[in-house]
Symmetry: C3
């Protein structure tokens, strides 16, 4: 039964106004908080001294708590617990909080924390994606196995930092020094174009939606093509893959059914490996598409990704389902609102963090 406070229309902005959506001021916080505001929630950004001013400049941010470093986030938890807060996590939570801190934090949390371990470990992630039937690039165990160009990815690499391109085994030998004390994987370099697909899976309706698509904007690798081949040699540029932004894409419609199917399979398997809820809310499959129009899956992000920031005012794909601007951030807030209104908020929160 709905408690009286869940009745829509109470207060100027409906039931949601009694709850605060809170997130770390970074990554996709503007989108999350704008979406929360548009769905009627109060909003709170936990920002740093450097970013505080930015988040305060927006009318839809009701409150800002400034902390010295994002790593100090856990110290704000008592304040969040006092409010009726719901945390919407994004990539910076993974970057700044440990898995242990994630578990320890008892503030109501949108999403399933159990999935974090499967995402954080490259081996478990690979198991998950393989079981979902997705096509994965080859991995090499040692440098001597390398028989084609590879991407080296350091463990814990964030935002493309710590990626390295290696042409062949000899190239690996030359740089072995750099890698000596590091944990890393050696992933086949797939020749093709990148495309990142943003999904939303609703545990309330059981339906998957494709929200939008993008590609990353990476420095310096996305500028190499602008340097004439002859000049590149003398300039001695090594590609780096540091993500500094995103650009929008659409996918050939004849490949959309497969993209949709991949998302469904990833959700299905997640319910087996992290039962019963599995993965829900926003997630992203990062693909490379080869000339024979095959998707190779590089990685999965089990939450909202920064590429959705291109679509704060809606996307061509979300417009198919919503004839209003529906960002992924707003979609999350709407799911929480629907859960509140139907007295099923537990279905969209982590089990260890009831409201």
């Amino acid at each position: 039964m709905l408690a009286p406070e869940f009745v829509p229309g109470i207060g100027d902005r409906g039931a949601a106004e009694f709850y605060t959506i809170a997130t770390l001021g970074s990554h996709s916080a503007l989108q999350i908080l704008k979406g929360a505001h548009d769905e009627g929630f109060r909003t709170l950004a936990i920002a740093s001294r450097e970013t505080e001013r930015l988040y305060r400049s927006f009318a839809f941010v009701d409150e800002v708590i400034a902390i010295r470093r994002y790593e100090d986030f856990m110290a704000t938890v008592p304040q969040l617990e006092q409010r009726k807060s719901i945390i919407v996590p994004h990539g910076s939570f993974v970057a700044y909080l440990s898995l242990e801190e994630h578990q320890k934090m008892k503030v109501p949390y949108f999403g399933n924390k159990a999935i974090l371990a499967w995402e954080a470990s490259r081996e478990l992630q690979r198991q998950w994606l393989s079981r979902a039937g997705l096509r994965l690039p080859r991995q090499f165990k040692t440098g001597s196995e390398i028989d084609r160009p590879v991407i080296v990815k350091l463990y814990g690499a964030q935002g493309g930092k710590g990626y390295m391109f290696l042409r062949d085994a000899a190239d690996f030998e030359e740089r072995a020094g750099l890698l000596a004390r590091e944990h890393y994987i050696l992933q086949e370099y797939i020749i093709g174009v990148p495309l990142y697909i943003h999904y939303f899976y609703s545990p309330l309706t059981g339906k998957l939606e494709i929200m939008s698509m993008d590609r990353r904007y990476e420095t310096n690798v996305d500028s190499l093509g602008r340097i004439p081949a002859a000049a590149q040699g003398r300039m001695n540029v090594d590609p780096s893959y540091v993500v500094v932004g995103n650009s929008p894409l659409s996918l050939r419609e004849s490949m959309l059914a497969e993209a949709y199917h991949m998302g469904e399979e990833v959700v299905r398997v997640s319910q087996e490996i992290c039962p019963p809820k599995g993965l829900f809310g926003a997630f992203c499959i990062e693909t490379i598409i080869t000339p024979d129009t095959q998707f190779y899956i590089m990685e999965i992000s089990a939450r909202i990704v920064a590429g959705t920031n291109l679509f704060i005012d809606g996307s061509p794909y979300s417009y198919l389902n919503y004839s209003e601007p529906m960002s992924t951030g707003r979609r999350i807030a709407r799911e929480i609102k629907h859960a509140l209104l139907t007295d099923s908020i537990d279905r969209v929160l982590d089990d260890a963090t009831p409201l």
Copy 2:
């Protein structure tokens, strides 16, 4: 005089609801059907077993007919004839149906089928564009004539598949084996940036509109620049031009008048070569822009192109004419609706397929 059923306001969604917009579930079908729904039509997708689930997932698709292969489309024609259906064709119709099947199909058809022959033949297309005064890349008749890089385009190449880059005559010789039994053209490789311009010409108002712009996202050629020049050699990558998506662009405004003029000339000449109606509805001119800001025309598509899928929620250009999200798909539906409401539906249908 308007028949009673054309009077707006009959039924909840106006006159259009008595008609079904039908199309093949591929290419730009989502945009076409969403636009049709938004203008008040009933909607029907003819999908395959693989894509059926995708099209059924959208609320704006009223009905799905599933066929085994898209080539079996003609078998659904009797069903379409029983309904008050209007077919809106797109690129997949050209890919899966022959010119003969197009002609045989008597379902009311948005567009002018006579133009198909001029588009399908590279020679006729070249005549058309030349008469319109457009700048075309040089063509070579034989490999020995080649004195600069060329693009080889196999006859009937679809979606960039079957394109090949050749550096010079020697390169042609080496690959002559691959081309031995093929029909192809040898087109000068123009060094410059691609830009695709999406137009809509209204036979009801006689006015041309620029709807949006894009560039294709092609694998693997759009990933070559991300591979260091030194590595490319050893990797032995040949460029391929398979289209897997699109990305949005805007055009320098000082060049927009010429873009508009090119569209007008293409329409004008089409009325001479396929009198009296010529080309109407959506079309696209595919250009390469050189450093002296000249447009070179690679091809024309005489119908809605997939690049418009970037703009299902409207484009910066369509917003100039419509202060609401106006995709090319919706623009088509609006034209049909206006034709119905003014008792001039024959002006937007192929002559052999009256309502």
Copy 3:
């Protein structure tokens, strides 16, 4: 006190309808005039014979004055003075009018003409940006100093025309002939990805807004990466940087606070160098982002830039502040309207051109 004619609601479209927003038909005129129309102003385009037809094709353009060449603009000034016109300048004003003509023109002018001299001179611009604490590429005084790749920029280069890439001092020697009679600067070639940030600073509220972001679409340099490295050599292609369009981008949110800060510093210093008003309205900072996520500033444009044409129907960033499509052009018109309604129009016009 508000004069009676400023009272909102007079006439069908409010107070603004008594004023005409006028601009040169080029660059970002469509956006400026559409925005002006949407805010209730009358609109006027001064177009050429070639572009007249284009501007007349839009319903939001109330009037077109056709001149033979854009350089003849000054001849229309008496007509503009007779109307209650306000000029909104853009890049083409700088291209076609001299600083002297700018000063001579007494039509009410949105913006501060004093800033033009600081923008036109590369030395003054460098002083301004340095004082704002921005990171600038190294400059070389003579060819012999060159110890890394550079971009040569001819004085007065417009739209990327007159830019040249040089690999090293030897490359400079070879081309010295081309540069012999030219004035130019030699700017360090920064390896990284370009990102252009569009700002709006409101003198009425004292608040800075980030409106949108883009990168330029340059021919032929943005096509080089599509040519295999091995082929580039024989084709002997030199990069050129002629801007023919733009493509949209978003910025990593953790870098947004710095982007915002850079804009604030640029405005702050402008109030010292061109007191008291400094720079207001639209402007753009053109950056290159390196793999250590540093912004290098290539240039500032002290007015609306063409990259904003991607966002005539709004941008993800402007949507954060306005839950309606807010282009930079519309934002300008809204600022003028607010100034009219609060009797402070002098705060948004150049001091020498009161209403």
